[in-house]
Symmetry: C2
C-alpha cells in the first residue's frame, strides 16, 4: 500500500527522475532531502537552474559551453591551433582534457550522424567545422566520435567530406573499447588511445 | 589536467553534490543533462524547487508532509485512531505504509534524542506527542525509532516519559537489522517486524 505523497512532491520526483541514472527511489530520496534543505539553499539551486541556459551558452567557435565570449580552450593562447579534435557532445571535452595528452582545439558536433533518428549533417555543427578546416593553419583533424556503429559512420562521413591536401585525419587508437560511450572510458585507456591515434582511411 | 567548467556549472555541481549519494561525477553528469533540457522543463523544475517549502508543509497533527490542512493519513476516516506509530523522520512513514500491515496513525519526531549533537526533546516534536497520547482513545504507541544507539535511547526515553495506565508501548520486533536506518530495510523484513512487535520494557 503506497501512501500518496503531496502532489508537489510527486511532480518533483517525476522531474528528478529525468536525470541520468535516477530511478523513482533515488528521486524520492532526493525530494525528501530537498524538503529538508534550508530555504535559502533551495532558492539558490532553483535560481541556478532558472538562469542556467541564459548564462551558459555554446562557444561560437567550438560548441563547448562558456559564460564568456569564447570557451577557455578557444580563448587560450597556449593551445595548438593546428589540431582540431572532433567530439560528439560537450561533456566529452573535459573527459579528453583529463588525460593531459591533448593541447589542440575541439569541435563539438552536437550529436552523431544517425539517419534512422533523423540526424544528418544539417542537424549537427557540420558546416562550422568545414569553415574551421578551410583555414590552412589546421593540419590535423582527430576523430573522437564513439566507437559504435553510428560513431563510426560519423567518422567515415567526416573523413569523406573533409579530406583535403595538407590535412591529416586521425582517429583515436585502439584502447577505447568498442561499442562504448566515451563518457564511460577510464582515463588511462583514453590516454593510450590519444597517444596511439592512427591515420583514418 | 582538468578544464574549468563555466562558473555557473561549477556552482550547480556543488549544489547537486549535497543530494544524498551524489558525488562530483554524478553531479557533473546531472549538470550536463540539465544543460540539455528544454528551457520550459528546466524552468518547471526550478519553479517546483522555489515553491516547495511554501507548498509542502508539516501536518500540524503528526508532522508528516502535506499540501492540505491535514496529511492524508490524519485526514482519513479509515485509520485506527487508537494506535500511534512514532518515527524519527517523515520519509519513514511511506516506508512503513508500504508494508500494508499498519492502519493506525503516525507521529514524526523530527529526529532522535542525541545529546552529543545537542538534540534533546525540546528540539523534537515531543510535547505535541504528549498531548496526543493524553487522549484516552489512544491505546498503543508503537516505537519505530532506529535500532542504533541513539534510536534505542530515544525509544527508552519515550517509554519512560509517556508510560500511563491503558497505553501499551510496543517496539518493532526483531526483523529489523541492528544498526541500520529504517530507510534501508527491505519491505518484507519490516512487515515481519511490524507483525511481531513486542511490548517494550
Amino acid at each position: 500500500m503506497e501512501i500518496r505523497l503531496p502532489a508537489s512532491m510527486e511532480r518533483l520526483v517525476a522531474r528528478l527522475r529525468k536525470l541520468p541514472g535516477v530511478g523513482t527511489q533515488t528521486a524520492q530520496r532526493h525530494a525528501w532531502e530537498l524538503l529538508r534543505w534550508q530555504e535559502d539553499e533551495l532558492q539558490a539551486l532553483a535560481e541556478e537552474l532558472a538562469t542556467l541556459h541564459q548564462r551558459v551558452v555554446p562557444c561560437p567557435v567550438c560548441g563547448f559551453f562558456t559564460e564568456e565570449k569564447l570557451c577557455p580552450i578557444c580563448a587560450s593562447p597556449d593551445r595548438d591551433r593546428s589540431q582540431i579534435c572532433v567530439v560528439e557532445t560537450a561533456p566529452q571535452v573535459p573527459i579528453i582534457e583529463r588525460t593531459g595528452c591533448y593541447h589542440g582545439l575541439y569541435h563539438v558536433l552536437g550529436g552523431r550522424f544517425s539517419p534512422l533518428s533523423g540526424i544528418t549533417p544539417e542537424n549537427l555543427r557540420w558546416e562550422p567545422l568545414r569553415q574551421r578546416l578551410a583555414n590552412p593553419q589546421v593540419k590535423e583533424m582527430i576523430l573522437a566520435t564513439s566507437t559504435d556503429v553510428e560513431g563510426q559512420a560519423t567518422a567515415k562521413l567526416l573523413l569523406e567530406d573533409f579530406q583535403r591536401e595538407g590535412l591529416a585525419i586521425t582517429r583515436l587508437a585502439i584502447g577505447v573499447p568498442t561499442g562504448a560511450d566515451l563518457a564511460y572510458t577510464d582515463t588511462p585507456s583514453l590516454a593510450l588511445a590519444l597517444n596511439g591515434r592512427q591515420k583514418f582511411s
